[in-house]
């Protein structure tokens, strides 16, 4: 990879907390690395683990899911159910060789602009240290076998 490589990170942010937290970070003019591509979702509980696998397959170097703190979920318990799913997803992917740190999770409330900026910085630096993702990645298909 050339020196110009920058980690590509897909962040699934819950509409009610983390996305608002990102907004606050922006409004407050906090600096954080521009490596995340944000996808707004209604709830962290709405994030199918399949999305994360697919993101890694299609070129993400890292994936972040961020939702409301436990007890703050707009749908009462979406994030708590998600917590179980993500524990399973992380265990499975790392079992078959995904580097620790490629998939990450956080709770960021609408009031935590600073935490959002910190999380993005930490995630970006972790993924940068890991280098470009190679595993689980779909290769471009050439014509000849």
């Amino acid at each position: 990879m050339s020196e110009a490589w920058e980690p590509k990170i897909v962040a699934f942010l819950c509409h009610w907390c983390s996305y608002a937290g990102a907004d606050l970070a922006g409004i407050s003019r906090m600096q954080y690395p521009p490596n995340v591509r944000v996808i707004r979702v209604p709830c962290s509980g709405a994030v199918n683990p399949f999305y994360l696998i697919k993101a890694l397959q299609r070129g993400a170097d890292g994936v972040l899911v961020s939702g409301c703190h436990p007890g703050d979920c707009h749908y009462l318990a979406g994030n708590l159910v998600a917590r179980r799913k993500f524990a399973m997803l992380k265990a499975l992917l790392e079992h078959v060789g995904l580097e620790e740190g490629r998939v990450q999770f956080s709770w960021v409330s609408a009031a935590e602009g600073q935490k959002f900026a910190d999380v993005i910085r930490e995630v970006t630096e972790t993924v940068r240290a890991l280098g470009p993702a190679g595993r689980f990645r779909k290769a471009r298909r050439a014509l000849c076998r």
Partner: protein, 347 residues
């Protein structure tokens, strides 16, 4: 794919010579060899030291994969100057040798030929690979317990589709060319002519193999299936079937495929992937309607295609009796038993 008549006397090929010869062949052509045992037995590109298969019956995976791979790119497409551009896949018609396939697998390719080499719509990728391929077969000295090739017109020492056939004798192989192309190929390798007793020994090997094969009542099955599309026999036949494609994907004559496009913005590739009539998705319409709603219709399709529709067009069943589907069915739904049950079908 008819080839010229050839009447060539056999030659003797010592076991110890085999690796040297294969290395030599690999220098001149793309060489695939039967390798591995049991569920790992398959055709793989030759590399020095690759263990040649010895086990009974056919390889688990078939030789059709060499000519009709599980996935094949047909063309790529991209956008250039605001216009779509297509780049077709290159036809690979270089010299190709397949070593160690059983007569059933060679015969299966002869059954695929009319499908892919139909004069109206010849498939250039399949045809290209077939055009110069030399098939060097290994007669079946020990059929698998699931084999029934003689019941569907095959033979453990059958020559159809092969260019050269090898018969394993006690301490050597008897090699015989069955086509002009095979004769030319064999001549180039330079062997000693076989003594007459080798021919007799080879005949004994084939006879022993023939005797080991079970008989399946497949004679006249096509006629019995005529007009039996709605017969109640289909109601129960499929019940144990799980609806997987193990039987179709490991069948040397199943040849259904799906065409899909894959790609991203501005570019992509059109792929031909294996597909199976045992899947619900196989006949699912865009509207959501599925004309083959249940396992009954799907299993009927598989049986009818092999033993009625294909014979209708090509004059013989699309089954070579290799027994793979029998051996691998997760629930032991045995095609031989299905055939036997259909024998009892009355109007």
């Amino acid at each position: 794919m008819r080839r010229g008549e050839a009447a060539v006397a056999g030659v003797i090929l010592e076991h110890s010579e085999l690796n040297r010869i294969l290395a030599h062949v690999a220098g001149q052509a793309r060489l695939w060899v039967a390798t591995g045992e049991g569920e790992e037995a398959a055709f793989l590109p030759y590399r020095p030291g690759i263990p040649l298969r010895r086990g009974p019956g056919p390889t688990r995976r078939t030789a059709k994969e060499i000519f009709f791979p599980r996935t094949e790119a047909l063309f790529t497409f991209h956008e250039a100057d605001g216009k779509p551009r297509l780049e077709p896949a290159k036809v690979d018609d270089g010299p190709l040798v397949v070593f160690g396939l059983r007569p059933c697998d060679a015969r299966a390719l002869c059954l695929l030929d009319p499908v892919f080499e139909d004069p109206l719509w010849p498939d250039r990728l399949y045809g290209g690979r077939r055009a110069r391929a030399i098939l060097v077969g290994m007669a079946c000295s020990q059929p698998s317990r699931a084999c029934f090739c003689t019941s569907v017109g095959g033979d453990p020492a059958g020559e159809e589709g092969l260019d050269v056939i090898l018969v394993a004798l006690d301490d050597a192989y008897l090699a015989r060319a069955t086509t002009d192309r095979g004769a030319e190929w064999l001549e180039g390798l330079g062997f000693s002519p076989a003594p007459p007793e080798a021919e007799a020994a080879a005949a004994r090997v084939a006879e022993t193999a023939r005797r080991a094969l079970a008989a399946v009542p497949a004679d006249g099955l096509k006629e019995r299936l005529d007009g039996r599309f709605e017969h109640p026999v289909w109601d129960r036949l499929h019940e144990r079937c799980l609806g997987c494609a193990a039987c179709t994907y490991l069948c040397p004559t199943c040849h259904c495929f799906d065409i899909v496009d894959e790609g991203g913005p501005g570019e992509g590739v059109r792929l031909r992937n294996w597909d199976s009539c045992m899947f619900a998705l196989f006949t699912l319409h865009a509207s959501g309607h599925n004309p083959r709603m249940t396992g009954k219709e799907r299993m009927r399709q598989r049986i009818m295609h092999k033993f009625n529709y294909y014979p209708e067009r090509q004059g013989r069943p699309a089954c070579v009796g290799c027994g793979r589907c029998v051996e691998i069915c997760p629930v032991n739904l045995d095609l031989r038993q299905v055939i036997a049950e259909l024998e009892g079908v009355e109007a």
